[in-house]
């Protein structure tokens, strides 16, 4: 099966093509890998080591406003068997808590925890409570911690337009919560998982959830963004309708109407439009076979890994390799059997390289840390 790339994407993705086309190759950045078997006492030193291997957090966050997009996918009422959500489809609460504490120690001025939970305008703290998290523990882990549901405007006045550099693959720009603009450092705090539609869901795919359902939700009005989110993001998956007319419309409504084509491109667009400054992937405990218990034949898996990097494509490439997959794989090859490769699309947009030969891995080596999601 061939990948369904446009001519422009193919030109951008071709290794070395940039030299001949006058474009620099996509940047490479080191990726830190730390082994950590549990969310117990070993977690904090492991996370300290994770960031130390990148040069430390202080130089990145001191005196800065840090916004963290959490991966809290799906309803908090779903579990993989009896496993708490943080042991399967959600980033673990203790990873969030330790990270917030480390940010506070590193001098972050303000820390905002962000997520656009599915089809609800309820406060993020309430959403966490429903999963049996303790949001108070997060709120007190550092000074000035805030929570914000970015699925709607809330108390903010207007959405902010984020143009996609180079014009975009699906949409030329995305209208998002101002919370994604009003920060100095943007962090994607993701989970190490496969994904039924996108092959893998890591720091890049986590940003699919920065889109507000008031605009990109099934119940969004025709003309203007809705007041409250209604429905999921089928619009982004299948393109069965357009966002409200006041928002950027699709570049090519005749492009394929299937999730395997659209979702990776929307994700690459979003990461290009709202760059990730720090990508963190919780792979201590996770699930294999899909992104949530609603995917059939999913199962628990214990990779015992923490991964972080300053470039999301590089970080996801290393994470994909640690899952036992080729991060350069084309459509039709695991884990991208029915979709295009988000990382290669990101590379085409100049975000970063997914070529492992160009990425320095610091800490545990790929060979010693690999945890094959498909045995």
């Amino acid at each position: 099966m061939s990948m369904e790339f446009t001519r422009r994407e193919v030109l951008g993705v071709m290794t070395g093509a940039g030299k001949f086309m006058g474009q620099p190759p996509a940047p490479a950045a080191p990726v830190s890998v730390v082994r950590c078997r549990s969310y117990g006492a070993e977690l904090r030193p492991a996370m300290e080591r994770l960031f130390d291997q990148l040069g430390g957090l202080s130089r990145l966050v001191k005196g800065k406003v840090v916004a963290i997009k959490l991966n809290l996918t799906g309803s908090p009422s779903y579990r993989l068997g009896h496993r708490p959500l943080g042991m399967a489809q959600w980033v673990h609460q203790d990873v969030v808590g330790v990270f917030v504490a480390l940010l506070g120690r590193a001098g972050a001025k303000r820390i905002r925890l962000l997520e656009s939970p599915w089809s609800t305008a309820e406060p993020l703290e309430e959403y966490m409570l429903a999963a049996n998290w303790d949001p108070r523990a997060l709120a007190t882990a550092a000074p000035e911690v805030e929570f914000e549901n970015t699925n709607y405007l809330g108390r903010r006045k207007a959405y902010v337009r984020f143009p996609v550099p180079k014009g975009g693959l699906i949409y030329p720009a995305y209208d998002l919560s101002p919370a994604y603009r009003d920060c100095d450092v943007f962090v994607s705090l993701a989970k190490l998982k496969e994904h039924a539609t996108a092959g893998v869901t890591l720091s890049m795919k986590n940003c699919f959830g920065i889109t507000p359902c008031t605009i990109y939700g099934d119940g969004a009005p025709e003309d203007e963004p809705g007041q409250f989110p209604r429905g999921g993001r089928t619009m982004l998956h299948t393109g069965y309708r357009q966002p409200p007319r006041a928002c950027p419309q699709e570049l090519d409504p005749r492009s394929p109407r299937e999730g395997g084509y659209r979702v990776p491109r929307v994700v690459a667009d979003l990461v290009a439009a709202r760059p990730i400054d720090l990508a963190i992937i919780d792979g201590i405990e996770s699930m294999a076979g899909g992104e949530g218990p609603w995917v059939r034949q999913t199962r628990p898996i214990s990779p015992g890994l923490l991964i972080a990097g300053l470039n999301p494509v590089c970080t996801d490439a290393v994470a994909t390799a640690l899952m036992g997959f080729d991060p350069m794989a084309e459509r039709g090859t695991a884990p991208f059997e029915r979709c295009d490769n988000t990382m290669r699309l990101g590379e085409g947009l100049g975000i970063g390289t997914c070529n492992l030969a160009r990425i320095e891995v610091r800490g545990a080596s790929l060979e010693e840390a690999v945890c094959r999601f498909r045995a």
Binding site: T73, S77, R79, W118, E126, F228, G232, P293, W294
Partner: protein, 428 residues
């Protein structure tokens, strides 16, 4: 047998004319047969009486005559909350199940719609205390039902202290030779609830009370709020407006008052007292007393929230029109930190939580309207310490001790897989 209180009725199929079929009731606590006035059932009637069963006549029009005298089956929406005999016979009840086409296995967040009579049974027991509540509903037509579906039907009544007037589907009526598994499932469920009949007398454990007269044009609104609070797994207590002066409000965190008429002054003062002590009152724009300081805005802006004393008064800006939103807003205004219990992978379940009056023992009933084990096991979260937890099912002779795991908000109890119904008995 105490009059009224121990009748367990079954509607005997007109086509079951063979007295030998009474053997299907051998291990069953069913003791009343509601039979059509049909001469061809004379032999069955005689044999049943010899076996100690009481045979009552039930006409096609819903008139029932028995030792208690005559009573009539009345559509539940038309039931008069005043007067009547010892048996309240409510018709037009629903077959309890996950509603067809409701997307039980839908995407990441799909929660199925569930048809249940539980809210009605709880309402009827509160507004008609001391009376037996019988629910009349039939299996869906042209549907082959598993035995577990019948166990759900029994549980959906018994858990809430009501009785289902058992009725069999068309297939079993015409092929009684296939009725064995269904009758065994029904008997097992009935015997289980007979063994634990004290549970139905335990007070409901709830954070939310719904105060209404449950009559007039707003009856549907008030009743649907009950139904939809159930779907949010938010246990509630029915508060009878007519008896509100005597109702204990102290253990409640929130009260919903949906009636369009302002409450009488005495009741208004009582509710304001509840708010001043720290409670939340959710009500409509008819509310008169608005003294208070501005409180935290609600998420959707549908309410004016006032701080009054230690509590909050949430007054809707527009008259209640959608019970789904009232249930949702109540939950959001109250906050999930007041959830008494929580379920994971329990989308097809409703719960009922009751506690012994001395507060030492409790039971959480779990009715699974899908009538088959969930794809992923269910976990029950309780917001309080639990010393011991036992898992009981009708088909199991002995309970199973549950593992109690500490959690940020109390404890979690991983549950074994179960079909129609299970109970978690707690020592707290």
């Amino acid at each position: 047998m105490k009059a009224g209180l121990e009748w367990i009725p079954m509607r005997w199929p007109r086509s079951w004319r063979d007295p030998a079929l009474l053997d299907l009731l051998r291990d069953s606590p069913v003791n009343v047969l509601l039979m059509p006035p049909d001469r061809e059932l004379a032999e069955v009637r005689a044999q049943a009486q010899q076996q100690g069963l009481s045979c009552w006549e039930m006409s096609p029009a819903g008139e029932v005559s028995g030792p208690q005298g005559r009573f009539r089956i009345v559509a539940r929406g038309e039931l008069d909350w005043k007067g009547g005999g010892p048996i309240v016979a409510a018709g037009d009840c629903v077959w309890p199940a996950v509603a067809a086409g409701s997307g039980a296995s839908a995407g990441p967040t799909g929660v199925p719609w569930v048809d249940s009579n539980g809210w009605f049974a709880q309402l009827a027991r509160t507004l008609l205390p001391g009376r037996e509540v019988w629910l009349f509903f039939d299996p869906p037509a042209k549907t082959v039902l598993a035995a577990e579906s019948y166990a759900v039907a029994v549980a959906d009544a018994e858990v809430f202290g009501a009785r289902w007037a058992i009725a069999l589907d068309e297939g079993l009526q015409s092929r009684p030779d296939r009725a064995g598994p269904v009758m065994r499932a029904i008997s097992a469920a009935l015997n289980f609830f007979q063994r634990h009949r004290n549970w139905s007398d335990w007070p409901v454990c709830a954070a939310v009370g719904v105060l209404s007269d449950f009559s007039g044009e707003h009856r549907h609104m008030a009743e649907e709020i009950l139904n939809l609070l159930s779907r949010r797994h938010l246990p509630y207590r029915v508060l009878d407006k007519a008896a509100a002066a005597a109702v204990n409000l102290n253990d409640l965190k929130a009260i919903v008052y949906p009636d369009p008429a302002a409450p009488p002054p005495e009741l208004e003062q009582r509710l304001l007292g509840f708010v001043r002590r720290g409670g939340l009152l959710v009500t409509g724009p008819q509310w008169r007393a608005r003294a208070g300081s501005p409180g935290p805005p609600d998420v959707h802006g549908r309410f004016q929230v006032l701080r009054v004393g230690k509590g909050r008064l949430a007054i809707a800006r527009e008259a209640f029109s959608d019970p789904y939103l009232v249930a949702l807003d109540t939950h959001l205004l109250l906050g999930r930190s007041h959830d008494l219990l929580r379920l994971w992978n329990g989308g097809s379940l409703n719960v009922h939580y009751a506690m012994q009056a001395d507060g030492t023992r409790a039971v959480v009933h779990l009715i699974n309207y899908a009538a088959r084990p969930a794809g992923h096991e269910v976990t029950l979260g309780m917001n309080r310490p639990v010393r011991r937890a036992l898992f009981r099912e009708p088909a199991a002779s002995e309970p199973r001790a549950l593992t109690i795991l500490p959690a940020p908000q109390g404890v979690e109890l991983p549950l074994p897989g179960f079909g129609a119904y299970a109970a978690v008995e707690l020592e707290v």
